[in-house]
């Protein structure tokens, strides 16, 4: 089965998931992002790569932050950006996902940036476009259910590469609610593809998916063991609805067992960096002293995120 993200020449035609993407495709995106990072520092923050193209941000699930970063990225590439809050319009009137897509294709969309609550929704759209013969329309997954958030995964890799050297020397811990996290899945696939020396998944059994070992990671239930001698710590957001007693007894107990405090951080290597996809729950998964401390690179992640999204859209538009 061919990876639906790649065309017959092995070039990226959609970005749906990190899983199945070859290492050189990931590296190419990161290198391209590097060159775009400078654009954001210029007086005129624009390049004409997507001039005349229409990028539709189609968000079936609310997210102001992610949508904004995609919008900025597309505008810096000179694209026309149309934001659709589909949660409040067509689907509320009973229109199906693919009906919505057909309508937007009829409006000459060149690229869809899609967020959806159901895992696999961007795959469904990409498959639909393939059946329509519209290979010129590209899909970027901006987060689908628990499945993937590939641009977040890529910006995390960009951040790691910026602060650290070779992936094959790195021990990386991903800590928290991996079960419900699309960010974690994208990070884990990216890290194993890029050849990280050791990837650890840290959390209680209730927040870890089954058969994690098959994803090439080491499972740790103990935070101390998980953090020991780490180079990179990726903390995950714990959503409020997980704390209702079914998966965890309380936020307080979670923080006591899995919260990243200065004392816990001290178990990692002295130059370890701390990442978080945001928005943070201070005092739940991360202590403010760590979040605001010198090892945190959480705000640079956001800056790199724009460049990475520019790179992804630029590469897709060229393929």
């Amino acid at each position: 089965m061919r990876n639906p993200q790649l065309n017959a020449n092995g070039e990226l035609t959609h970005l749906l998931s990190i899983q199945g993407l070859p290492r050189d495709v990931l590296i190419h995106i990161l290198d391209t992002a590097s060159s775009f990072l400078k654009v954001s520092d210029r007086n005129v923050k624009k390049v004409p790569l997507l001039r005349g193209k229409s990028v539709f941000n189609v968000f079936f699930e609310n997210s102001t932050r992610t949508r904004t970063t995609f919008e900025i990225a597309a505008k810096r590439l000179s694209a026309d950006v149309i934001n659709l809050d589909v949660t409040r319009s067509s689907t509320a009137k009973g229109e199906t996902l693919l009906d919505t897509v057909d309508n937007l294709v009829a409006m000459h969309a060149d690229m869809f940036v899609v967020r959806h609550a159901a895992s696999g929704a961007p795959h469904l759209i990409a498959d639909h476009l393939r059946r329509l013969g519209r290979n010129d329309v590209h899909v970027v997954n901006a987060g689908d259910g628990r499945h993937a958030h590939p641009t977040q995964g890529l910006l995390d890799m960009y951040t790691i590469r910026h602060y650290k050297k070779d992936f094959d020397q790195l021990v990386v811990a991903v800590v928290g609610d991996i079960l419900h996290s699309r960010v974690a899945r994208s990070d884990l696939h990216a890290l194993t593809t890029l050849g990280a020396a050791e990837v650890r998944a840290v959390g209680p059994q209730t927040l870890l998916p089954t058969a994690m070992e098959t994803m090439g990671v080491r499972v740790c239930h103990d935070l101390r063991a998980g953090l020991r001698d780490c180079d990179v710590i990726i903390m995950l957001r714990l959503q409020n609805e997980r704390m209702n007693g079914a998966l965890l007894p309380s936020a307080r107990e979670y923080f006591a067992c899995y919260g990243l405090t200065p004392a816990m951080l001290a178990l990692a290597k002295p130059d370890a960096i701390v990442m978080h996809p945001g928005p943070m729950n201070r005092g739940v998964e991360i202590d403010s002293d760590v979040a605001d401390g010198p090892q945190a690179v959480i705000l640079p992640q956001v800056t790199f995120g724009i460049a990475v999204r520019m790179a992804v859209m630029g590469i897709l538009a060229g393929n």
Binding site: M1, N3, P4, L16, Q19, T96, L97, L98, H116, A118, S119, G120, A121, H123, L124, D127, H128, D144, G145, R146, H147, A148, R182, R185, P209, T210, A211, M212, T214, M215
Partner: protein, 418 residues
């Protein structure tokens, strides 16, 4: 269409119930199997059927087929060689009233295609709260009672339902799945679901429900049939129970003999099944259960329109169109498992007939002439157009399969010729 006197010549006759597998002629008169080998006295054939190079076997008996549009699906059934099928009660509205059952029976008799055996609802509206009028439903034609895919969460009510069914010696069929453990799940809780971010259904959802059902069946003495097993651990529980003398039967769907979680690929909604496709090891255990006769095979035919599948995986409806693939996929399994045809065909003829307690699935002299004549080697391409069912939903679309039905008889009448 009348029943004719038929002389079916030179076919390879396979009758698992009678242990017969040889090239021999078959004679049909007055809608019944009149003779094998030599014609009965005074027989004159209205039609000679040349079955050279073909297999002549009992019409297939399907333990579970949903009908949707009844005429199209019964046409699909006979095109697939299926002459008797049990219809689960999750119709709209559900089969919880005698009138509804009578109407279904009458309608299917009028069509005169495959024979339809309704399974009645075990509880009113399948809601799992109040017992359905099983006695009235049985009089109307129900041959067993089930909840289809709906749970009975209240185990005391499940015990009562079994006690009541056992009172009248009605068979109870359950699809074993614990409601809570399966909650919101859409795929096997394993490697693929973890990777794709799909909510998993653990194997324990099946084993816990099987254990509960076996205990209650043991206590009540009800005739229990467990439908559509999905796991090796589930098979083991039933095997052990049978060895200790519990009268329980079970089946697997033909899809679960061929597919596993990896067939979900990149969210292929045609591979969304209920129960879910599990690991390759589970599939092997199901194959073993089918080959050693522990489990019968059903199509679990679930015709859906395209809208039901063109959705993100978790929102898509589960199930596949199966009536026309039951025979080819059983033949494929037999070839792969190196099973003699007679054994494989038993799983879709005599075994399900005996589970349902119906006089079908046999070519013995005097039995109703429900016959399937097929070419085991003829290949065909599975396309939406090739399927007569309104449900074009199958993960086998685009595949080539062997085994084409040439003629189907129901009560001696030719109901399909292809």
């Amino acid at each position: 269409m009348h029943s004719q006197n038929l002389h079916i010549r030179n076919g390879r006759l396979i009758d698992p119930a009678g242990g017969l597998d040889q090239q021999i002629d078959l004679f049909v008169a007055d809608g019944r199997i009149a003779a094998i080998g030599q014609p009965p006295a005074g027989f004159s054939a209205d039609r000679q059927i040349d079955a050279s190079g073909l297999i002549v076997c009992p019409g297939l008996v399907d333990l579970s087929a949903r009908l949707g549009g009844i005429e199209s699906e019964l046409k699909a059934a006979v095109a697939g060689g299926v002459t008797s099928l049990a219809c689960p009660p999750d119709t709209k509205p559900p089969l919880d009233e005698a009138g509804l059952v009578e109407r279904l029976v009458r309608r299917s008799e009028t069509l005169g295609l495959a024979r339809v055996y309704p399974i009645g609802a075990l509880t009113q509206e399948l809601a799992g709260q109040k017992l359905a009028e099983m006695n009235g439903l049985a009089r109307a034609g129900c041959i067993a009672f089930s909840q289809a895919k709906h749970p009975i969460i209240d185990t005391q009510l499940l015990l009562r339902a079994m006690q009541y069914a056992a009172t009248f010696d009605y068979a109870v069929r359950l699809r074993p799945q614990d409601h809570f453990l399966a909650r919101e799940g859409v795929a096997h809780d394993g490697e693929v679901a973890s990777r794709l971010g799909l909510t998993g259904i653990p194997v324990s959802a099946e084993t816990v429900a099987i254990a509960t059902a076996l205990h209650l069946a043991g206590e009540t003495g009800v005739r229990l049939h467990l439908s559509r097993l999905s796991s090796g651990a589930g098979v083991d529980l039933i095997r052990t129970a049978r060895q200790s003398g519990v009268l329980v039967t079970c089946d697997v769907s033909i899809h679960h003999l061929h597919l596993s979680e990896t067939d979900i690929g990149y969210f292929d909604s045609n591979s969304r099944f209920d129960p879910p496709l599990r690991s390759a090891a589970d599939r092997e255990a199901l194959r073993t259960a089918a080959s050693d006769g522990l489990a019968a095979i059903c199509s679990d035919h679930t015709p859906l329109d395209a809208d039901g599948k063109q959705l993100p995986f978790a929102e898509a409806l589960p199930g596949a169109s199966g009536l026309e693939l039951l025979l080819p996929l059983t033949l494929l399994w037999a070839t792969q498992a190196k099973l003699p045809l007679i054994g494989a065909l038993a799983r879709i003829t005599s075994d399900p007939a005996s589970i349902l307690g119906i006089a079908a699935g046999s070519l013995s002299i005097g039995s109703a002439a429900d016959v399937c004549i097929f070419d085991a080697d003829e290949a065909w391409h599975v396309t939406p157009e090739a399927l007569r069912s309104q449900g074009k939903n199958t993960p086998f679309l685009g595949r080539d399969v062997n085994g084409r039905v040439r003629m189907t008889l129901v009560g001696g009448r030719i109901v399909f010729e292809g």
